[in-house]
Amino acid sequence: MRKWWSGLLVILSLLGGLWGLGQTAQAATRRVLIVYDALNSKQQGQTKLDAVQRLLASAGVQTRTEQLTTYRAGQLTSRHYQGVVTLNNWPAGHLKNAAFIRDRDAFTGKQLHIGSGLDATEARQLRSKRVAVRHQQFLLKNRRDWQLLPFSENITLLKPTRGAHNFGTLTRQRASLPDHPYGTVVGKHGYLPYLEPKGLSLLVAMQTIAALFGKQRTQAPLLTITGVTPYSNLKRVRQLARQLSAADIPFALSTTSVANNTSMRAFTRFTKTLRFVEQQQGVIFLQAPVVGAANAQSGNTLEQLMVAELNQLGQRQVIPVGISAPAYWNQDQILRRYGLQRARDVLLLPNPATPTFAKQDNLGGTVKTTWYGMTWHSLQTVRNGQTQQITPALPTAVTVQLPTSAKQEAALLQQLRRANVTWYAPQKQMRSRVVSASATFGYHKGTYYLNGSPVKVRSEATGVPNYHFERKNFVALSRYFKIQGWILMTFFVITTIVLGIFLFLGRRIYRRMFMRK
C-alpha cells in the first residue's frame, strides 16, 4: 500500500516537476517588448533605441521591438512577454496608441518607461509624484562622478519616495532647488526620465535596467581595441599590444578577417601579428564583415564566409574568443543566426551610419554574455576628462580605435596608464566557445582549445602546409587559341618579310625601267 502511494507520489512529483520546468522554460524564452514612438533622427532616436536593445541583450533578455503605430491590440500579454519598455523619443509628437496604453495598464510583468510622456497610471504604479521641469540644465551625479547634461526642454522627474531604488541624482544649477533621482525602480516598475547613450548616463541607466531585470552582476569592463582589419598597420598593432602588456593592462582586440587570398604572405603576417597579441595576453574577437549587399538568401554565403574565416584563423592558432558586430546584427534573422549565434561571447558595437539588413526581424537574441561596446572617449566625460573607477552593472566592453599615428598611440597609452580602472582580465575570468562548421574553438582562463584539446600558441604557425602558388589552370581550348595565335603570328612575320623583299625588288626593277630610258 505504501509502495503504491509512494509510486503515485513519484509520478505526481515528476509531472509537477515537468510542469514547473515548462513554466520556467517559458519564462526564460519570454521576451521583453520594446515599444518606441518614433525614431526622431534629429535627436539620435535611432542611437537611443539601439542602446536600449543592446542594454537588454546584455542583461540577458530577448527582446522584440515594435513601433507604436504598428502595435496591435492584445499583443502585450503576460503570457507572451515578461516585460515592456516604453521608449519615447519625440516628446513634441505626442504619439498615442490607446490599445497599447490599455494593454500596458493591464500588464503585470516588468515595466520600464524611458523618456517623456509618463502618464498618471505609470506614476501611480511607481508610487511617485511627477514633477514637470522646463528649460533646465542638469548635472548627473553618481557617487563621486558627475556629468553635465545637455540643455533639456521638457523633462518629467519623480519626487523621491520611500521604498524606491534610486540610481544617480539630477542636480540643477541653482542649489536652492531640490535634487531628483535619475533612475527609479519600484518593484516591477522602472523609470528613466531621459536616455543619453554615453558616459555616466549610460552607466547609471545600465544599473537601473540591471536592477529591474534582475541580472545585476558587477563586472570589470573589458578594454577592446577596435577598427583592426587585415589591412591595418600591423606594426602599430604589435606595438600597442606590447605596451599594454608591459603596463599590465589586459585587453581584447576586435578584428575583421578575410576568407580569400589566405595563401598570401600578407595573411601570414596578419595572423602572426594576431598570435603575438595572443601571446601578450590579449584575446581576439572576430569582427563580423561589412555588409555590402544582403537579402534573405544571404544566410548560406555568410555561413560559408564565417566558417572559412574562422578555420583559416584557427589553422594558424589564432583562436577567436567571440564575435563582435554592429548592434543591428542582433536585430536581423540572417545576420544573427549565421553570424552571432555561433559564439558564447558576443560584443555589440555601435551601428554604422546606414546599416544594411539582410532580413530585419527586430527580435533581439541573447548569448551567454553579450558585451555592450561603449567608447572610451565617451567615458572621459564622466568626470572632467578624468576617468574614475568604472564598474558597469552589465558586461561592458570599453572600445578604443586603433591609433592611426604614433602621437595618438602615445596619448592613448598615457590615458590608459593614468586611468584608475580595473579591467576585466580574460586570462583570469573568461570561459568562451566559438563554433565553426567543423571545429570548436575554446578559451578558458588563458588556455586556448581547438576541438577540446589545448593549443600552444607560438610565434610561427604550426600545422599549416606551406602553400605554393600554382600556374593558371589549363583549359582545353586555351591551347588551341594559343597555337592559333602563334600560327597567325608566324604567318604574318613571314608575309611581312616577303612583302618587304618584294617592295625592295620591285622598286629596283621599276627604277631600272626608267634608268634605261
Binding site: 600578407a266 596578419f270 555568410l302 604574318f492
Partner: protein
C-alpha cells in the same frame, strides 16, 4: 536564253541607275534597324545597373516593376518637378536623350517616356552615317563590287550588337554614330577637288560625339587629332587654316572636359578596381609583388574585391583609411611603374583584353521585354552574324594586334608615299586616318587595363572593334576600287 540575259542586264542597269550603293545600304540598314527596334516584341538591352544615374541626370525615373539585367524596360517616367541631379554629368548621350524626350512629349505623352523614341532619335543620324560611309567607300562607281561593299557595310555596322543598344541608355550608339561620321567625312573630303566645309564640320561633330560619349573616351581626342592631320594637306593656307585649328582646339577642350567630368566617386571606383582586378591579378603572391612600392603589402589581400561589394567584405572600400593609404597613392604613375616592372603580367592582361575586345555583344543583360515571354536574359540571335564571327575567329593575342598594325601601316604607307610624290592628297589623308584609328586600336586596351583593370573589360573596349572594323573596311574598299597603292582619278562629289 539570250533574251533572259538581255533582260537581266537591262534590269541591272535600271537598278543601278535608280538605286546607288549608298541608297541600298541605307535601305537595308533601315530594314534591319526597323525590324530590331520597332517591330514587336520590343528588343533592346537591359539595365546592368548603370542606368539610374543616367536617368536621373536626364529627368527620367524608373517606373514600378522595373527590371534589372534580365529584361528590357519599355517605359520610364518623366520627372515633373525640380530635379537636383539634372545636368550633373557631361556626355553627348544627354543631347540625344533630351531630343528623344522632346519628341516623346510632342507626339506621345507628357508623363511617360517610351524608349523607342530614343531608338528613333539614334536611328536617324545612324542611317545618315551609313549612307555617308557607303558613299565614301563606293563613289563614284556602281559596279557589282560596289553593291557588295554596301552589303558588307550593313553586315558590319547593322549588327544587332550595335543596333540593340539604341533602345537603351548605354553610350554605344553615340560611339557608333560618331565613328561613322568621322570616317565617312574624312574619306570624302580627301577625294574632293574643292573642300566641302559642311563635311569638315561633320567631322568635328563626329569627333566631339566620340570623345564626349563617355569620360574615358576623353583622352582619345589625341588619336583623332592624328586622324585629322591629313586636313592640313587639303587646306594649306589662309583663314580656313585658322578655322581648322580652331575646330581642333575646341575638340581638344571638349576631350579634356569630358575626361575631367568623371565624378570623384567614379574615379575612386576605377582606381580601386584597377588595383584589385588589375595589379593584383597574377599567379604569384600579389602581396609580395607590391611590397616596397609605397602601398602597404597588406592591401594585396584585397585581390578580386569589388568597390561595391556584392555580399560581405572585411573593410568598406569607401572608408577614409582606404582612401588615404591606397587610393591616394595609387596614381597613374604608380600603375605605369608597376607594369613596367612586371611586363609578363601586363602582357597577360593585354591578351585578356585582346580576347575580350571583339565581343561586342553584351550577353550579360537580356534583350527582350518581360511580356515577350522569353526566358530571363534571353538574347537576340538574328542579325548577329558579324559579331559572332568576329568574336570567335579574331585572334586573341595582343602581339597579333601589334603585328596587324605594323602590316596595315606598311600597306597604307605605300599609298601615302606614292601620293606624296605626285602631290595628291587622298592617300595622305587616308593614311593619317588609319594611323589615328590604329592608335585607338592599340592604346585603348592599354588605357583600359591601367584605368580600371579587368572589370567590364568588353564594354570599355568598344572603341577597339569599331576602329579595327573601320580600318579593315577601308582596306577592303580600296582593294576593290583598285586605289590601295595610289589614288585614281575618280572624283567624289557630295
Amino acid at each position: 536564253m539570250k533574251r533572259l540575259k538581255q533582260l537581266s542586264l537591262t534590269t541591272w542597269q535600271a537598278f543601278t541607275r535608280h538605286v546607288s550603293p549608298a541608297a541600298l545600304a541605307t535601305i537595308l540598314a533601315a530594314l534591319v534597324v526597323g525590324f530590331l527596334l520597332f517591330v514587336p516584341p520590343l528588343r533592346g538591352l537591359a539595365d546592368n545597373g548603370t542606368f539610374p544615374q543616367i536617368l536621373a541626370n536626364n529627368g527620367l525615373y524608373r517606373l514600378s516593376g522595373y527590371q534589372t539585367t534580365t529584361y528590357v524596360n519599355p517605359q520610364f517616367g518623366i520627372m515633373q518637378y525640380f530635379n537636383e541631379l539634372r545636368g550633373t554629368s557631361f556626355t553627348a548621350q544627354t543631347l540625344f536623350i533630351q531630343v528623344a524626350i522632346l519628341l516623346n512629349r510632342v507626339v506621345y505623352s507628357q508623363t511617360v517616356f517610351d524608349v523607342r523614341f530614343l531608338g528613333l532619335t539614334y536611328a536617324v543620324p545612324y542611317l545618315g552615317g551609313i549612307y555617308l560611309l557607303t558613299r565614301a567607300m563606293t563613289q563614284p562607281y556602281r559596279r557589282i563590287r560596289s553593291y557588295f561593299l554596301a552589303v558588307i557595310i550593313v553586315f558590319v555596322f547593322a549588327d544587332a550588337s550595335f543596333v540593340l543598344s539604341f533602345n537603351s541608355f548605354y553610350a554605344t550608339p553615340v560611339m557608333v554614330i560618331g565613328m561613322l561620321y568621322v570616317v565617312a567625312t574624312i574619306l570624302i573630303v580627301a577625294r574632293q577637288r574643292t573642300t566641302s566645309w559642311r563635311l569638315v564640320i561633320g567631322f568635328f561633330v563626329g569627333v566631339a560625339l566620340l570623345v564626349t560619349a563617355t569620360p574615358q573616351n576623353g583622352p582619345l581626342v589625341l588619336c583623332f587629332l592624328i586622324a585629322s592631320g591629313g586636313f592640313f594637306f587639303v587646306v594649306t593656307r589662309g583663314p580656313r587654316w585658322l578655322w581648322l585649328l580652331t575646330g581642333i582646339l575646341v575638340v581638344l577642350a571638349l576631350g579634356g572636359l569630358s575626361y575631367t567630368s568623371l565624378s570623384r566617386e567614379q574615379r575612386a571606383v576605377n582606381r580601386y578596381q584597377s588595383f584589385t582586378h588589375g595589379v593584383l591579378t597574377q599567379d604569384t603572391d600579389a602581396s609580395q609583388a607590391i611590397a616596397h612600392s609605397g602601398i602597404s603589402r597588406q592591401y594585396g589581400l584585397m585581390k578580386g574585391e569589388d568597390y561595391y561589394p556584392t555580399a560581405f567584405t572585411a573593410k568598406r572600400p569607401n572608408s577614409r583609411s582606404v582612401h588615404q593609404q591606397l587610393l591616394q597613392r595609387y596614381t597613374v604613375g604608380w600603375v605605369s611603374r608597376y607594369y613596367i616592372q612586371h611586363p609578363r603580367q601586363f602582357m597577360t592582361l593585354l591578351n585578356l583584353a585582346a580576347s575580350d575586345m571583339m565581343m561586342t555583344q553584351n550577353k550579360s543583360v537580356g534583350d527582350y521585354q518581360k511580356v515577350a515571354g522569353k526566358a530571363p536574359g534571353a538574347q537576340v540571335t538574328i542579325f548577329t552574324g558579324f559579331s559572332a564571327i568576329a568574336g570567335s575567329f579574331f585572334p586573341r593575342r595582343f602581339a597579333f594586334n601589334l603585328l596587324l598594325v605594323v602590316a596595315l601601316l606598311m600597306v597604307f604607307a605605300v599609298g601615302f608615299y606614292n601620293d606624296l610624290r605626285v602631290q595628291r592628297v587622298a592617300s595622305v589623308v587616308r593614311f593619317f586616318l588609319v594611323c589615328g584609328l590604329l592608335l585607338i586600336f592599340i592604346s585603348v586596351p592599354v588605357m583600359a587595363i591601367i584605368d580600371g583593370g579587368t572589370t567590364e573589360l568588353a564594354q570599355r573596349l568598344l572603341m577597339v572593334p569599331l576602329s579595327i572594323d573601320m580600318v579593315l573596311l577601308i582596306f577592303l574598299a580600296d582593294m576593290l576600287n583598285h586605289r590601295l597603292w595610289h589614288t585614281d582619278d575618280a572624283e567624289t562629289g557630295v
